[in-house]
């Protein structure tokens, strides 16, 4: 017997084709394509170097030469926003990748084996959730020192908990399903049951959350950049750019407006994709 017929994966795939994606999901994917293009080819797209000072063009309003204007060092805001895409998308990826992988693994194991493993996990969760996420992250950054790498470490050391909780709950439901019992009865090893049978069916909420989390990751990264704990100036990171321009918000609003719009659009991109995926992947009766 083919192993895949034991699991309801096929049905899920068929139902995927039956519903057409919503326009909001398409909008999210379109925005993502734009951001990816900016992140992959900033040198080709940006008209100037992101760190190039031009003391003859300080705080210029948007014009043909500088579509987004220039900042207090005469740096081209458009070019910095484009180069910033690379940093901020990197933040979205690196604040979520490890939590997703490690959290999914821990969730699968604790959900499957239960008992003492689950008890330990439960205590860890109890402790971590009483800290406001942001407070815990900045406290860890305080220990390690400011900077992007330390921010990734801080977020990762806390963020996996949320994935583990999601996957754990799902695995606990799935392991009682008939297909999982059948797989066990056939004598498959626990590893095979967990990774080939249970996880493919239990990982959906974690994938949907991954998208939301990328949106949160960008906002968090920019917030830490703004506070001076994340990316460091003169890096063209959107949060840092807003912090740099905050004193000129009345006289030169373009310095902060464009990175702010880019941040909002990037956050929107991932939350639209997340919502769209949740709709598509939601199990239908």
């Amino acid at each position: 017997m083919a192993t895949s017929s034991l699991s309801p994966k096929r049905d899920a795939r068929r139902s995927l084709l039956r519903v057409s994606p919503k326009p909001t999901l398409l909008l999210g994917l379109l925005l993502l394509a734009v951001f990816l293009a900016a992140a992959l080819f900033p040198a080709q797209l940006a008209p100037y170097e992101p760190a190039e000072f031009d003391y003859t063009a300080i705080m210029q309003p948007p014009s043909a030469a500088h579509p987004f204007g220039t900042d207090n060092f005469g740096r081209d805001v458009l070019s910095r926003v484009i180069w910033g895409t690379r940093i901020d998308l990197q933040i979205a990826l690196f604040t979520t990748l490890f939590p997703f992988i490690f959290g999914t693994l821990v969730g699968a194991l604790t959900g499957y084996y239960g008992r003492w493993l689950d008890a330990i996990f439960g205590r860890i969760v109890d402790v971590v959730v009483v800290f406001p996420f942001l407070v815990l992250v900045i406290a860890i950054v305080a220990v390690l020192g400011p900077g992007l790498l330390n921010m990734y470490i801080a977020v990762s050391s806390v963020g996996w908990i949320y994935y583990a909780r999601l996957v754990r709950g799902e695995v606990m439901v799935q392991k009682k399903a008939e297909y999982a019992q059948a797989a066990r009865v056939m004598g498959y090893s626990p590893a095979r049951v967990i990774f080939r049978h249970l996880l493919p069916n239990a990982v959906t909420p974690a994938i949907v959350y991954l998208m939301t989390d990328m949106s949160l990751g960008i906002l968090l990264g920019a917030s830490l950049g703004y506070l001076g704990l994340g990316a460091q100036p003169p890096t063209a990171e959107w949060g840092v750019m807003i912090a740099d321009g905050k004193n000129f918000m009345v006289t030169a609003p373009w310095v902060t407006t464009f990175p702010g719009l880019a941040l909002t659009a990037a956050g929107l991109t991932f939350s639209l994709i997340g919502d769209g995926l949740a709709d598509l992947l939601r199990p239908r009766a």
């Binding site: 009483v130 942001l134 407070v135 220990v143 906002l219 703004y226 807003i242 905050k246 909002t264 939350s271």
Partner: protein
């Protein structure tokens, strides 16, 4: 198990958790670069002076003993002294915490005032342009960083129009309704988006519940059905979500207070991190954790009161 027993059990459950939290914070602070004695005394000191301070702080003792001293001092209300501000940490917290609590509560109230009516409107006008507009605005609200909303509000209403102060706090409760309006609004906006989505979805879900159908077919007035049957039930999950989000709101206060120069514990935390003021970081981290534990406890109790079906265990 009755309600009081449940409350007591939940209260007791906090103790072991908080013990681990203290251990975690204790270890974290020991991992911080630099030693506390030179942080207190400054750079130009003799080894003897350092040894003396270490003795006074109990830092010459083995780690488990140090942890014991730390726990004992905590329960005596001794959180050490700020190296930069030269005041006991407890004094600082007493002075600054009310501001943050005010800001957080204010933000929570504004979030609910925004979210509840709009969620009801969106749910009752489901799939119309009104619903689309409300959802669209809040979807964007979920994607704008708190500090950016804050800066924009500050620039527009504070600096350009001059209708709100550009920072600081008032001297009494009523004045703060005015002084902290913009900070509370920017802090609460994100939460209102989360609450709106959740409440809209649960109202729509409750619409089709059998008891609502029954209430309708019984000939009850529309208003009664909406208020007593639909809203009351739909609000249960939103209230729980609200409670669980307060912790994040307190975290968000760190950013809002920095943007608006509000002298609360959030700003104190950021200042302490840049000033490497370890006693303050330690005291504040514990305070935040204690606060969130209490809010979770209250949320659980409220949930048990609101939903008679809740199992108390």
């Amino acid at each position: 198990m009755n309600r009081w027993q449940y409350a007591l059990t939940r209260l007791l459950q906090i103790i072991p958790t908080f013990f681990v939290v203290m251990l975690l914070v204790f270890v974290m602070v020991r991992l911080l670069p630099g030693d506390p004695a030179s942080a207190i005394l400054g750079d130009r000191v003799t080894d003897e002076a350092i040894a003396q301070v270490n003795r006074r702080l109990g830092l010459d003792q083995p780690l488990p003993v140090q942890f014991g001293i730390f726990v004992r001092n905590f329960f005596r209300g001794d959180l050490g002294s700020s190296a930069n501000l030269r005041v006991p940490v407890l004094e600082l917290i007493k002075e600054r915490l009310p501001v943050t609590l005010y800001l957080t509560a204010y933000a929570g109230v504004l979030a609910a005032l925004l979210a509840v009516p709009l969620a009801i409107l969106a749910a009752f006008r489901r799939n119309t342009w009104v619903d689309g507009l409300i959802r669209g605005v809040f979807q964007v609200g979920l994607s704008v960083p708190v500090f950016y909303v804050g800066l924009q509000l500050l620039t527009f209403f504070g600096a350009r129009l001059g209708v709100f102060p550009v920072g600081g706090v008032g001297s009494n409760f009523t004045q703060n309704l005015y002084y902290l309006f913009l900070p509370a609004l920017s802090l609460g906006f994100y939460l209102s988006a989360i609450l709106m989505r959740n409440l809209r979805a649960s109202i729509i879900e409750v619409f089709s519940a059998e008891y609502v159908e029954f209430a309708r077919s019984k000939g009850l007035k529309r208003r009664v059905v909406v208020l007593k049957h639909i809203l009351r039930n739909a609000l249960i999950s939103t209230v729980t979500l609200f409670g669980l989000s307060i912790g994040q709101l307190i975290g968000g206060a760190v950013i809002t207070e920095t943007v608006f120069a509000v002298p609360g514990v959030g700003r104190l935390m950021v200042d302490a991190i840049f000033g490497r003021d370890y006693a303050v970081i330690q005291g504040l981290t514990l305070t935040f954790a204690l606060l969130v534990s209490l809010v979770f406890l209250l949320t659980d109790l409220l949930y048990a009161t609101l939903d008679p079906r809740a199992e108390l265990s």
